[in-house]
Structures are given as C-alpha cells and as structure tokens.
C-alpha cells in the first residue's frame, strides 16, 4: 500500500473507517515513519482546534423541539407566514429573460482584450443550461416583484431604446422584411396561425460595486465578494427585432398542448469594457445562484463567456439535455407533468448568428419531429 493521503489519515484518526480498509491503513502507518509523523501532526492540529471549539459548547439552551415548534407557530402567525403560489420551474426564455440573465449571472468575461479603449462586442453563438439552486434567493425574497434584484434593476438600468408594441405580419416574407433577416418555418406544421415581429430594444446598466455588495449581503451571502473591477463598469445590451411564429391552437381555448411557439432572433450584442474582470464577477454571481465556491470557480474558468448565453435553470422538477437539431446541438429543457400541470418544454439553439427557440406545453416529441422539417 502506498502512503495514504492526509484525508485518509484524518478518517482513520476520527474512527470513520472500519474493516479491512482500517486494517490496511493501520498496518501501513505502523511501518511508515513518515506517515506516523503526518498522523501526529494532523492529530495535534485537530486537538488544538477542537479544544478551542469545545469552549463554545458550555452554554446551555433549551432544545425541546415540540415546545419550540409551538412557540415558532405563535411567532410566525404574527409575521403573516405565507407560502408562494405553486410556481413550476420554467427556463428563462425570451430576451427579457436574457436581460435578467445578464444581470443575474453576468454571463460574460473579458476573455479577449481586443481594443484598448473600445468596448468589447459579444455575440451569442451557443447556449448553455446551468442548473442553479435559487431557493435561498427565493427565501430571501430577492427575486420577486419588489425584491432586491428587481429593485436593483429599476435603480440601475436605463432603457436606451424602448421597443414598440409587437406588430402582426401578413406572412413569413413580410415578417422577414420587417425584421431584416430570413425567417425560417416548420413545414411539417403547415402555415403558422399567427406571425408577429417584436421591435428591437436596448438598455444600459452601470455597475455599482457598493450597491451590488449590499445586495449580496442582504441576500445573506456576505461571504461572496464582488470584484473591485466591477465598479463603474457600463454594460450595454442590444436586442434586435425578433420574429415569433405560432403554430396550432395558441389562443385561450383548452387545447394549449397543440400550440408551438417558434421564436427567432439575431444574436443580441452585449458591450462591456475590456477592463472589467467579468470572469470573477460571474463567479460571484454563480455562487449567489447557489453554486459552491469551487464549482463556481471551475465553471467560470471553463465556459467561453464571450459567446455563450447561460440560462439558469432552477433544479427542482426540470431537466435538460443536449439534442441534435438543425445540424447543431440544441439544449432541450423540460418540466415534467405533475398534477394539473401538463409539462413544459423549450428547445434552444444557435445557428449562423440567429438564436432559435421552440417551446410549448406538454411533451416535446411533436416539436422535435417538427424541427426536422425546418426550411
């Protein structure tokens, strides 16, 4: 047996290993002077630290859980405990959501420093789905209307190009002409029942480090530090005109599972100053979204933030997988049916600078088959 790691030595010390594994480790340690020394060193450190921590246990407290529960109920009644309505996890879709993603995950990184004093222009070339645990932010009421993040956005985001109301188009050709790109269709589903063109829009946001840190602190995560480079940085987002094709019965009638929404939009552009260390900022945001520090660091370092749109997906009840579509890889996000909820799916992919999204209620089989008839 080779020398055990310090983790294994510690496990032996703590009596957390038994049987043949313990015998093998003890036998080795008994005959290995170096391991004996390491073991004693770990033991000395453990003993010193635990002795200090033991000083904390001298205070007594009442821990009758039943009694505590009764008191908790009384106290909670005075605070108007309310449960949020059943909200099924849904992927963040549409560019309004993408804008939130930009703020929440700040899914960009300098990566390149193209021009010294020119803003870096970033375009979405691919999509990555990131399972996140937003439960703590939800519990802190940070995400909802009037919550910390909503308040931060209303205070710091400036709309520089207000989109007009969506306009109906007579046919696909007219929609393409209005939007300025070639609109594609799902031939298998016939003629779209409704075609609309959403106007372009743009907004800017100046990051205020102190304000961001206060937001993070208020969310109960004062362990997360917003990088200094964020302070004063200007983010500018432009979302081009978008076309939405609706196939099937997409009205208020009962057969909602028959409805498929097919959205297409040229990649939004996001401008950031090259000096901004957005990898570090993204790492903080990932931690805020519930990811462990080490995992957030690894993720932040390994994703090409300059071209990847990260979609945060609440973990409970939803799943995602990569599927081939349109000659590229797409991300299929599905929420399983449960009770009265019939399920929901969203397939997102990027090709030739256009972001496509195919979504609807129910299961995804019909949409996946329809995607094979793209023209």
């Amino acid at each position: 047996m080779s020398c055990p790691t310090e983790g294994v030595l510690r496990t032996v010390l703590d009596g957390e290993v038994r049987g043949s594994e313990l015998e093998a480790a003890e036998k080795h340690i008994g005959g290995c002077e170096r391991c004996g020394l390491r073991l004693r060193s770990i033991e000395a450190q453990r003993s010193g630290v635990q002795e200090n921590l033991a000083a904390l246990q001298n205070e007594s407290s009442t821990a009758d859980a039943r009694f505590a529960y009764q008191r908790f109920q009384q106290a909670a009644a005075g605070r108007a405990v309310r449960r949020p309505p059943m909200v099924w996890p849904r992927p963040a879709i549409g560019w309004a959501a993408a804008a939130v993603v930009v703020l929440l995950v700040l899914a960009l990184s300098p990566g390149r420093t193209w021009a010294q004093r020119v803003l870096s222009m970033l375009r979405v070339q691919k999509v990555a789905v990131l399972p996140v645990d937003l439960s703590e932010l939800t519990a802190q009421n940070a995400l909802g209307h009037g919550g910390l993040i909503a308040q931060f956005m209303s205070d710091n985001v400036v709309i520089t190009m207000q989109p007009a109301k969506p306009a109906a188009a007579a046919d696909v050709a007219a929609a393409g002409q209005a939007a300025g790109f070639a609109v594609r269709t799902l031939d298998q589903l016939g003629t779209p029942g409704k075609i609309s063109v959403n106007d372009q829009g743009a907004f800017q946001m100046t990051l205020n480090r102190e304000r961001l840190q206060a937001l993070v602190d208020a969310a109960g995560r004062s362990d997360i530090q917003i990088p200094a480079s964020a302070d004063g940085s200007l983010l500018a987002v432009h979302v081009p005109k978008m076309v939405l094709l609706q196939y099937g019965n997409c009205g208020k009638a009962a057969d909602t599972q028959n409805c498929i929404n097919f959205m297409q939009v040229p990649s939004p552009t996001i401008s950031v100053p090259p000096s901004l260390n957005l990898a570090a900022l993204a790492e903080s945001a990932l931690q805020l979204a519930g990811m462990g520090a080490a995992e957030a660091h690894t993720f932040a370092q390994n994703v090409d933030w300059t071209s990847t749109l990260v979609i945060p997906l609440p973990q409970a009840g939803a799943s995602f997988r990569t599927v081939p579509v349109d000659g590229v890889n797409g991300s299929l996000i599905e929420s399983a049916p449960r009770g009265n909820f019939v399920g929901h799916y969203q397939l997102i992919w990027v090709k030739n600078g256009i972001v496509y999204s195919l979504g609807g209620q129910g299961t995804s089989e019909r949409a996946l088959a329809a995607a094979e008839s793209l023209s």
Binding site: D14, S61, R83, M86, R221, S222
Partner: protein, 176 residues
C-alpha cells in the same frame, strides 16, 4: 389547495422537529445562547416560505445548517461592526466587574473563537461546528453536499485555516 397547504404544513413540521435541536446547538456554539433561539426561528421562518414540493425534493436539513451558519456569521459580523462604534473600553470594564476572572476569560475565549469562525467561509465554519457538535462524516457530507470520503480532507483544510486565522487575530500566546 387546502389539502396541499396541510401537507406542506405537515412536512414542514416534520422537518422542524427533526432538525430544530441540531440547528439550535450549532447556533448556540456560533453566537451564544442569547441570540441562538431567535436566529433559529428566523432560519425556520425562511424555510417556511418554501413550497411543499421543495421541502419534499430537496435536502432541507443541509439547507438549514447552511442557512443557520450564514445567519450566525452575519449576526457575529453585525455585532462586531456595532462594537466598533461603541465605547469598547467602557464595556470591557463593566464586563470585568461582572463576574469572577475565570468567567471573563472563558467569555473572552469564546469571543475569540467566534471572531475566527465569522471570518471564514460559511461552509468551512459549518464543517468545524458540525464536527465539533459530534456529527458523523455521513451527516456532514449530506449537509454540505459532498462525498463522505472527502470530509477528512475538508476538515484538515478547515482546521488548518482556523489555526492560521486564530494565530493571526489573537497572537501566538494562544495555544493551538
């Protein structure tokens, strides 16, 4: 809807009864008995905002220990901030008059240990507190969402960091 509410209530109650004592113990260690109960209630209040489905499908125990540790550390840091604005010398003088020397030293020691814990990452503080309270590797692993086999290594690292911080903050005179 009423049925759902009742089931959620029942699930919440079960979690409360299962974890309350352990959460309170952790908080007593971290902030002292004076604040622990109030913070424990606050943590469970936050938990009560979760839906029944969340309670059923997530590691509520892990969430509780994590949130309790963070709440405790935040409380310690807030106390430290307040202390900076107060007349520390006067307060200290009063404390020294309050009881026998041994009690004062013991309280001073607790304060030092808590100051070190509050300067660490919450996950590391939680690890040390849970182990100190007698939690097994399996329980710690479940709470932190790591493999039980990795707990030994994490403990070594957390203790090493605790030791370094303690010596830096409170000097070599302390035994470690």
């Amino acid at each position: 809807m009423r049925v759902v509410e009742t089931r959620a209530q029942s699930e919440f109650e079960a979690i409360f009864l299962e974890h309350y004592a352990a959460v309170l113990r952790l908080l007593v260690r971290l902030v002292g008995a004076g604040q622990a109960e109030e913070l424990a209630n606050e943590v469970f209040f936050r938990l009560s905002h979760h839906s029944e489905r969340w309670l059923l499908t997530n590691n509520a125990g892990g969430w509780l220990y994590r949130t309790a540790t963070r709440a405790g550390i935040d409380a310690l840091r807030a106390t430290a901030r307040r202390a900076r604005y107060e007349q520390a010398a006067v307060t200290e003088g009063k404390q020294r008059e309050a009881g026998p020397l041994e009690d004062v030293l013991r309280e001073e020691h607790r304060k030092n240990v808590r100051a070190v814990l509050s300067s660490m990452k919450p996950a590391k503080a939680q690890l040390l507190l849970m182990r100190s309270a007698g939690s097994s590797y399996k329980e710690i692993a479940g709470s932190l969402g790591v493999a039980p086999g990795g707990v030994g290594t994490l403990l070594n690292r957390a203790e090493s960091e605790f030791r370094k911080r303690y010596l830096k903050m409170h000097g070599e005179k302390e035994k470690l």
